[in-house]
């Protein structure tokens, strides 16, 4: 409350021309570097270091270095302390809810959480995130339309997509004919005991609800139960071998699994030409990892970084990589319009890969699960009891 007033006063003074702002004044207004979450401010001063926590293998690499981060440092002078310590939404949230619930900082400026799990919406609802400084992110205009008004952050005040991916069905063509529908996956007797379902409620229920003809973006009890019971039947009949995270990949590669509910990026990375991935006939799921600024993070510096990655040329290179310069790209789905075009200059092969730059048809057929349903304790308990019978 007092923080906000101070910030507004600061903005007014900044509008008057900046000369009235002195560094000590700024520090006093910011609350210095206490571990209490006061938020660093919109004072338009870049920090020396940006603390960025992300998922592993989720950024462009060249040997030991991260080219886009080095480019950012050259451009703005900010060193990015990049830590790949997020490997699970639930686990990471479990770790940071301790400090955040006590009003303490987690010493990170940007973290990345997925929108088809409850935690992203939860962080925003609990007020454990800082508002973005949109004045520092003019490139936000490049955000693709489908991402502009998600239910958990309708005005994109707190989050911006990092990368997206799709959930569909992968199958091994050496062991089966194409498995293209959820119906086949869950009920074909030929696949009994040879398939896995994802343990993520958002992913699994989206696919099954679409197969039932229901709308996963607005979940009703009736639709939820119909989809849930269908999955339960597949568990009881031993059709589903296991519920997995991304640990479906090894058995799929080995042939222990014939088909699996899976994420698009993983399959692109398997490098196995017998494993094919498709959006299911009734539709698939779209999930997006979003950048958010946890309370206590440096808003301005984080916003400047976000603006940097929303430049189509930067995003294009990050996404597709450049084989000539030995830069390995991220190979998920970028949220920045124009990145595909820019990527053609660096890596035409990647630029034409529909798993990285999907067609409009594919994008239309993938849906995002209802954020309210993700935080419905009844649904969650039911789901957890199923996968942990």
């Amino acid at each position: 409350m007092t923080d906000q007033l101070t910030r507004r006063q600061l903005l007014e003074r900044a509008a008057l021309g900046g000369a009235a702002i002195t560094v000590p004044g700024l520090l006093a207004a910011c609350g210095g570097t206490s571990s209490k979450a006061g938020g660093s401010t919109t004072a338009h001063k870049l920090a020396k270091t940006l603390h960025f926590s992300n998922w592993p293998y989720y950024i462009d690499t060249k040997g030991q270095t991260f080219p886009s981060l080095m480019q950012f440092q050259k451009k703005t002078g900010v060193h990015v302390d990049y830590v790949q310590d997020i490997n699970d939404n639930a686990g990471f949230f479990g770790k940071i809810q301790g400090p955040l619930s006590r009003g303490q900082s987690v010493h990170r400026d940007i973290i990345v959480l997925t929108d088809n799990d409850r935690y992203l919406a939860l962080m925003i609802r609990k007020g454990w995130v800082e508002k973005l400084d949109k004045s520092a992110i003019p490139n936000i205009k490049n955000l693709i339309p489908v991402q502009q008004h998600p239910s958990f952050d309708p005005h994109r005040d707190y989050s911006l997509p990092w990368q997206s991916g799709m959930t569909g069905i992968a199958y091994n063509d050496k062991l089966t004919d194409p498995v293209l529908s959820v119906d086949e996956l869950l009920e074909s007797p030929k696949l009994k005991g040879k398939i896995t379902c994802l343990n993520s409620m958002g992913d699994a229920l989206t696919l099954v609800m679409l197969a039932n003809g229901d709308d996963p973006t607005k979940v009703t009890d009736k639709a939820f139960n119909a989809a849930f019971n269908r999955i339960k039947k597949a568990v009881d009949s031993k059709q589903i071998r296991q519920f997995t995270g991304n640990d479906y990949a090894p058995p799929l590669a080995r042939g222990d699994l014939t088909a699996a509910m899976s994420w698009s990026g993983d399959i692109a990375q398997l490098g196995n030409k017998h494993i094919h991935w498709n959006v299911p006939t009734a539709g698939g799921a779209l999930w997006t990892d979003n950048m958010i600024i946890p309370k206590g993070g440096d808003v301005y510096t984080a916003s400047v970084y976000m603006n940097f990655v929303y430049d189509p040329k930067v995003q294009g290179l990050m996404e597709a990589g450049d084989p000539k310069r030995k830069i390995v790209g991220i190979s998920y789905i970028p949220p920045v319009a124009g990145a595909g075009e820019a990527a053609k200059a660096f890596n035409p092969e990647a630029a034409s890969n529909v798993l990285i730059f999907p067609t409009k048809k594919m994008l239309d057929s993938v849906k995002l699960f209802d954020a309210n349903a993700l935080n419905n304790q009844k649904y969650l308990t039911q789901w957890q009891n199923l996968i942990s019978a």
Partner: protein
């Protein structure tokens, strides 16, 4: 060391002091907080409040008693297996190891240098449905034609056994290595057969090692979750998995806390019963 002579009464406390202080601060205090949490109620949206919510305990037993029982079952089988499998090896290292003892001990813990996930992935490769092991078992009719080893209760128990082997083998070795070979010789001189000498001399003398090994295996194994998660199907999940999901996915911290205490109580009761059965001196050590 006249100091110790005069202050004999102090010595045990001085010996215990540093370790117990460490545990007191870094274990008991967090445990106290956990106990406090177990009596809370609420949710992540509106916060948690301390409400003497004993219902958490009752609900945990009511809803998840099958997972509790299954955990004790899996841990028990794994411990028994581990004992049977490790005892001969510990014996061999202790009595025949000679100068290679320490190297052999190193080999026993070597799998831990490669992270858990990697060695489990390796086992998954070895036990693959189409792999050599499964094919052999099928041709020997131990396994049915369409059966598999992975994603079953067998795989979970096998995983627990394998990953806890050092916790059984090392204490066994420690106890066996101490046995004076002369005692065994003496028994044989007195006309005991090798088997008899083993049963009447070696085995009883190695009891401290057996007790130590079984405790160090059973107790942590009962709370394990990762083997069930990677190697089992939903019907093989243990109470550790439930606690994990209560904490992480359902953010139901009070429930997770209550369940943990029930598990700990069950284990403690088991340990006391066990101590009674084998004789408390083995468990607590004889006082001078």
């Amino acid at each position: 060391m006249n100091f110790f002579h005069r202050h004999r009464g102090l010595t045990p406390y001085l010996l215990l002091g540093p370790g117990l202080l460490w545990l007191g601060v870094f274990f008991v205090v967090p445990l106290g907080y956990l106990a406090y949490q177990s009596l809370q109620s609420g949710n992540i949206d509106f916060g948690y409040a301390f409400t003497w919510s004993w219902g958490n305990y009752w609900n945990a037993i009511k809803d998840y008693h099958s997972q509790f029982v299954r955990s004790l079952e899996y841990a028990g089988i794994a411990t028994a297996l581990s004992l049977v499998v490790s005892y001969p090896v510990a014996y061999w290292i202790a009595f025949r190891g000679g100068r290679w003892k320490n190297l052999l001990l190193l080999f026993i813990v070597a799998p831990f240098f490669v992270t858990y996930l990697i060695r489990t992935l390796a086992w998954e490769t070895i036990l693959s449905d189409n792999g050599f092991v499964v094919n052999t078992l099928q041709s020997l009719h131990v396994l049915g034609q369409g059966d598999r080893l992975l994603a079953t209760g067998t795989a979970v128990v096998a995983g627990i056994t394998y990953n806890f082997l050092p916790f059984m083998a090392l204490p066994l070795y420690v106890s066996l290595e101490q046995i004076d070979g002369a005692l065994i010789e003496a028994a044989e001189d007195l006309y005991a057969s090798k088997l008899h000498a083993f049963l009447r001399v070696t085995l009883p003398l190695s009891l401290p090692g057996i007790v130590a090994g079984t405790l160090l295996t059973f107790i942590p194994a009962a709370g394990d979750f990762i083997n069930a998660q990677l190697l089992g199907s939903p019907e093989n999940h243990m109470i550790g998995n439930v606690i994990q999901s209560k904490f992480l996915e359902l953010t139901d911290y009070p429930a997770a806390a209550a369940m943990s205490f029930i598990l700990m109580a069950a284990i403690l009761v088991g340990v006391f019963a066990y101590a009674r059965a084998v004789g408390t001196e083995q468990l607590t050590g004889t006082a001078v």
